[in-house]
């Protein structure tokens, strides 16, 4: 599997061209709802700008995915070696690379549930991936019996890497993806449901925000042309939220989510909403 992965990497540069062609069967079926039809007209006008932006983003996604595979392998190796403490240490940082590009991964059908499903997201028999192992590490306090899940997880990560260059990324996917990343935070991270056993929710929180921020940074020049006030407002609110998150940094990571008080969680959530609202208007750059 690994080799498969490597192949595409080599082609990375060329992959830019794929944006139009790579219709992976299930590709962005769920992440680009209404946009396509209506964007067509206006995209032609500034198509060049978006091509550059799309390639910037694809490069970012591929980079993140490379790191994701690398760090996931360290994690799964620790699990297979029976090194409980090491595995727990590597768990959240490895996931962060995935969380930054989650909308892209979600465009790949089964990969997202295979990698990231929580306990009740899928039928018990189908449950695998990070959270399956998370439960063993934190709740059962053992790596025993997780070897198979570890192998599967690494394969799934590699498969994601192999497929990511073929995803049909367009500006609309980026715009909606940025908001989706924040919606992810709003609906599962803020509530502490994402990392039920490890309470490492803030790693995911921060990674989702970073992923959205990356998209914003790439599209910022275009947005500034269309609506400078909005561009400024979004920038300020990213800064506010990041500052808020920084308060919970601990070492290389973040504090256990259970350490947050209710009012701290509420403030994070409100700052997130304050950002996501204007961010959801970034679609202005797509025209009507």
């Amino acid at each position: 599997m690994r080799y498969n992965v490597i192949l595409p990497t080599g082609v990375l540069v060329a992959s830019l061209l794929f944006s139009g062609c790579g219709q992976k069967e299930d590709a962005n079926a769920d992440s680009t709802p209404a946009a396509p039809a209506s964007t067509e007209t206006s995209t032609t006008a500034s198509a060049a700008d978006f091509n550059a932006a799309i390639e910037q983003y694809r490069t970012f996604a591929v980079e993140q995915c490379d790191l994701f595979v690398k760090e996931t392998e360290k994690f799964t190796n620790a699990v297979k070696a029976g090194n409980l403490d090491e595995a727990k240490k590597l768990y959240a940082p490895a996931r962060a690379y995935y969380e930054r590009i989650e909308p892209v991964a979600e465009a790949l059908g089964d990969l997202d549930p295979n990698i990231d499903a929580r306990v009740n997201d899928v039928d018990a028999a189908d449950w695998r991936g990070f959270h399956r192992i998370e439960k063993a590490l934190w709740e059962d306090k053992t790596t025993t019996g997780q070897e198979g899940y570890a192998d599967q997880l690494l394969k799934d990560a590699q498969l994601l890497r192999a497929k990511i260059e073929t995803i049909d990324i367009d500006a609309s996917l980026m715009v909606t993806g940025a908001v989706e990343l924040l919606n992810e935070v709003s609906s599962s991270k803020v509530t502490g449901e994402e990392e039920l056993y490890s309470h490492t929710d803030l790693y995911d929180f921060a990674a989702n925000v970073e992923g959205a921020s990356k998209i914003f940074e790439i599209l910022k020049p275009e947005l500034a042309k269309k609506d400078a006030d909005l561009e400024k407002e979004i920038g300020e609110r990213f800064a506010t939220l990041k500052q808020e998150l920084d308060a919970f940094k601990k070492g290389d990571g973040y504090v256990d989510y259970t350490e947050l008080k209710d009012d701290q969680i509420r403030k994070l959530s409100q700052n997130l909403d304050a950002l996501a609202e204007p961010l959801s208007n970034m679609g202005k750059i797509l025209g009507v």
Binding site: A34, S38, V175, R237, Q270, S280
Partner: protein
Amino acid sequence: MSDHNQNSNDNSILKKPMTRRDVLRLAGSGGLGLLLGGSTFGLFAAQNNRKTKAANATGTTDNQVPFYGQHQAGIITPAQNFICFAAFDVTASGSSSLQKLFRTWTAAAAAMAEGKQVGEESTNHNLPPVDTGESVGLNPSRLTITFGAGPSLFDDRFGLSGKRPPSFKDLPAFNGEQLEPQWCGGDIGVQVCADDMQVAFHAVRNLARMARGTAVLRWVQEGFQRSTQADPSGSTPRNLLGFKDGTANPAVTSAQDMNKVVWAQGSDGAAWMGGGSYMAVRRIRMRIEVWDRSSLKDQEDTFGRYRGSGAPLGAKNEFDAVDLNAKDEKGNPHIPADSHVALAKGDGSIQILRRSYSYSGGMDLKTGQLDAGLLFISYQRDLFKQFVTMQQKLAKSDRLNEYTLHVGSAVFACFPGVSNGGYIGDTLF
């Protein structure tokens, strides 16, 4: 219990719980007197609602209450069926952010009062709709949105510290209250009332959405009263204790009375508040389960009125005068001196305009009991001379305090009305 005392005051206010009779009377009297005392509270509100509806001073037409005018709508406007009250905290700093929010809210509130959507409908499929949409196709349902500033808005964040009216500050502690922070305070209070709950909710939702990044919700409470559909006659409504409530409000049709009781005058100490009004909000939990196992006699003695008719104890009809000196054949007073109506009546020198609603917060998870009560709201020209004076008396002695508990509290300086082209609070900046 201590809350006894406290509550009593509140109760009266709130509630309406005056005895039926009291209520009735008050109601009947048209605000006469019962409540007079201070209690104008309870009764008033109820009555107002209904009564004033027909001939209303605010010029209600059909389903529409004008947003612009000398005074804000939603104060002397006959009470609508529902309320959705929202308190906000401002998170942005600087008065320009605040003014921008007020301008945005003004345009939205004026549009919604006419049954329109907020903002221009977008045809861009790549953007979220400007209005959230749940009120599309609904009439305005007499929607009113009333804005006020809390004492905390006058700290140093917005350069308004010199503008705080001298008599406007947080309420003193009252006997027996058990305030919970999640139901208290707020930089800004927004009272949204409508004859349709969805219309009211839509307004709060959209105002909160527009405020994102500038202000956040602090607390929200929905409330209701019996609807006009359920009681087309508009008789005095009953509170959740089963008693008629809200009768003796002052006559909102009398500009003279309103200027005396409700509207702050420019000469009162803060020129920018001339034509505005001070609002007191109390979330008063009713101990429903306890009340329900009290004997009818206890209940009636608590209010000082008969439950069925609302007549004062010893009298026959709802609007009969409350005679605190009336004695039964044994020489005991018909109306106990510590009954709600007796205390509320007082000497009739203090009045307030009540505009309360019942609320239900579902179930109390700790006790398994119903979380229900009164969202007491009153408007007055001076919080301390009127509301506080009245409430202190009730908090000390009212029999109703045994059955009620004040858990939430806030006060807001509600701005004068907005003229077309202006914005809420523009006299403040």
